[in-house]
């Protein structure tokens, strides 16, 4: 596993609202996310996982503290450069897939390349190759409504990976899937997404997928309360059941 830090959060705070209605979503978060590892952000609903993920992805600005993503203080980048940084370096997997219903699977997967100005035919060709790698190549011409949940999430994964981002952020990627499909999607994520030059952050409260994590950061009430690292030592091929049981017990 690469020990370099891809994401560095120091005393990150995030407030919503003001006056009496003020809500403190993040209360001084310190977190390091390393390249070549899959980091799971876990915790109960409303503990600030998604807010932290949004801050790391540059979709929300922190109220205080420092967030360095791939060596850049993303919040300090001017609007246009921040968007360009996100477009180039970040990949997203959403809970509800958020595929464009009018586009085929291949066209959906090609969207980040199209947004970057890659010609359509080239982008779609690359998307088809990637879909094949992810096991849905034969469904490349299908519309999202013609795909199962697992297939849609694989297409979403292809969309997140097609431009070879250095940071992949996944928000509850298995929440809308049954256990078996969720495991399969996480297996693909671990096998295809985790690379020495890429960091993967997964927000989840699905404890069935903890076994895929290299690092688990547990959040509660807007803070990181515990971080456990080196769980899989970069081995993304299988699951150590003894350690998994131990980790479940711990969590």
């Amino acid at each position: 596993m690469n020990t370099e830090i891809a994401v560095e959060c120091r005393d990150v705070r995030k407030e919503f609202g003001n006056g009496g209605g003020k809500v403190l979503a993040l209360r001084g978060v310190d977190l390091d996310v390393r390249y070549g590892a899959m980091t799971l952000l876990v915790g109960p609903s409303g503990c600030g996982k998604t807010t932290l993920l949004s801050v790391i992805a540059g979709l929300l600005n922190a109220s205080a503290g420092q967030v360095k993503v791939l060596g850049e203080e993303i919040e300090r980048l001017p609007g246009g450069r921040q968007i360009a940084f996100r477009r180039k370096n970040l990949g997203f997997v959403f809970q509800q897939y958020n595929l464009l219903p009018a586009l085929t699977a291949a066209e959906n997967a090609a969207v980040p390349l199209l947004a970057a100005g890659v010609p359509r035919l080239r982008a779609v060709r690359k998307a088809k190759d990637l879909l094949s790698t992810l096991g849905v190549g034969e469904r490349a011409s299908a519309l999202p409504k013609e795909l199962s949940g697992g297939q849609q999430q694989r297409v979403a994964l292809a969309r997140a990976l097609i431009h070879e981002p250095r940071l992949l952020v996944c928000d509850e990627p298995t929440a809308a899937l049954d256990a078996e499909t969720g495991q399969a999607v996480m297996g693909l994520l671990a096998a295809q997404a985790v690379r020495p030059d890429r960091a993967v952050i997964v927000v989840t409260h699905d404890n069935r997928i903890f076994s895929f994590a290299d690092t688990i950061a547990r959040m509660d009430d807007g803070q990181i309360v515990r971080v456990e690292s080196g769980l899989r030592n970069g081995n993304h091929g299988g699951v150590d059941s003894a350690r998994e049981s131990e980790r479940r017990e711990m969590l």
Binding site: S54, L59, G80, R87, Q95, A102, V111, L114, R120, R159
Partner: protein
């Protein structure tokens, strides 16, 4: 991303077709009503336009439009002829006798009496016969629509007789005169005949038609005639506009058409805007995902504008095609003859449709622009 925008648009076929139909309907109404409106107003000056021999019309100082005539004195003709720059000036009579056929069919007619010696102002588009036969006694030239009104279902035929205020007149020609505002028969005859057919007032000189000398500007000459005679002198174009303005100011026509045009615009903006807004709202999550992925607000605005313009262009084309078809079908109908799809209304409607789709998309654009990309994580 244009490809993505267009696929998003056409992917929801029901809304897409609904939007195109709305714009097409709006286009059809706007072009149809504004063309008919302009065509009808144009008719108010038809008899002025048909006189191609003269450039200037001289009339009583208080005359506002063609139908409103007050007889001039014969000496006025002499005075006008005396104005420097006038090549020639001739009399024109306009009256409204009742025309009656032998089988009892009758209608009020527009009777134009032309200068006996020159026949200046005679209709040049003849369908049957010759305007030169007007020199024959009791002769008239009648327009085709008038003939059909007085002799319904009968073939066009010369030398038939009509009575004009109990004076017998013979049809020596059938013209293709421009349709008048009211659908009366248009009859041309010599001045001396016309005053006999109508003849009630002591003087019957309605207008004086003037031709300027070569190189004399009609506008300048009109001003000079007005200064020297105290009469009103207008160029043909000015006089036609006077008629249009008179009807605009003094009739309910613009209000009537204005209401229809306004309704078409409102329906277009509201229905297209609402459908487009719903379309955008239903795609809001997808737009949020695109923003998160790194698509800029400018790009998303361009995508929505492209969708709106595509719908606008398709609807406008279909609506314009339908409208052109409508006028092609009605072109040869007597009541609607000469009403055509005017290029000015096509351009005006195009701009109005551009306004409609721009307004319709603005609300949607605003909704997407204020959308936080982080919202995409909230499900």
């Amino acid at each position: 991303m244009n490809f993505v925008a267009l696929k998003m648009l056409t992917g929801d076929r029901a809304k897409y077709l609904g939007l195109v139909f709305t714009i097409a309907f709006c286009t059809f109404l706007l072009e149809n009503q504004s063309s008919i409106f302009a065509g009808i107003l144009n008719r108010t000056g038809s008899q002025i336009a048909d006189v191609t021999d003269a450039d200037i019309w001289v009339m009583d100082a208080k005359t506002e439009y063609f139908e409103q005539t007050k007889a001039l004195k014969d000496t006025d003709l002499t005075r006008v002829r005396g104005v420097e720059g006038v090549e020639w000036a001739v009399k024109l009579f306009k009256g409204n006798p009742v025309a009656r056929t032998l089988n009892g069919k009758f209608d009020v007619a527009i009777c134009l009496g032309l200068d006996d010696s020159t026949l200046a102002g005679a209709p040049r588009n003849m369908l049957l016969g010759s305007w030169e036969r007007l020199r024959e006694p009791d002769s008239i030239v009648i327009d085709k629509a008038g003939y059909v009104l007085l002799f319904p279902g009968e073939p066009l035929e010369l030398d038939r007789t009509v009575e004009l205020n109990d004076h017998k007149a013979t049809i020596v020609g059938i013209s293709d005169a421009s349709p008048p505002f009211a659908s009366y028969p248009v009859m041309h005859t010599r001045y001396s005949e016309a005053v006999n057919f109508v003849g009630r007032e002591r003087t019957q000189l309605s207008f004086i038609l003037v031709r300027p000398k070569p190189a004399v500007d009609p506008l300048t000459l009109s001003a000079r005639i007005e200064n020297q005679t105290g009469l009103r002198a207008r160029t043909s174009d000015q006089f036609r506009w006077d008629c249009v303005v008179y009807y605009l100011r003094n009739t309910g026509i613009p209000v009537n058409f204005g209401i229809t045009i306004t309704i078409a615009l409102i329906v277009g903006i509201v229905v297209a805007g609402q459908t487009f807004y719903i379309f955008t709202i239903e795609n809001l999550k997808q737009f949020g995902a695109l923003k998160a992925i790194g698509v800029t607000n400018l790009r998303i605005t361009a995508m929505i504008m492209l969708q709106a313009l595509t719908v606008g262009a398709m609807g406008f084309s279909i609506g314009s095609g339908l409208c052109a078809g409508f006028f092609a079908i009605t072109l040869n109908n007597l009541a609607t003859r000469h009403l055509v799809l005017m290029w000015q209304t096509v351009i005006g409607t195009g701009l109005a449709i551009l306004l409609v789709v721009t307004l319709a998309s603005l609300i949607s654009i605003r909704r997407v622009l204020v959308l936080e990309p982080a919202a995409v994580f909230r499900g």
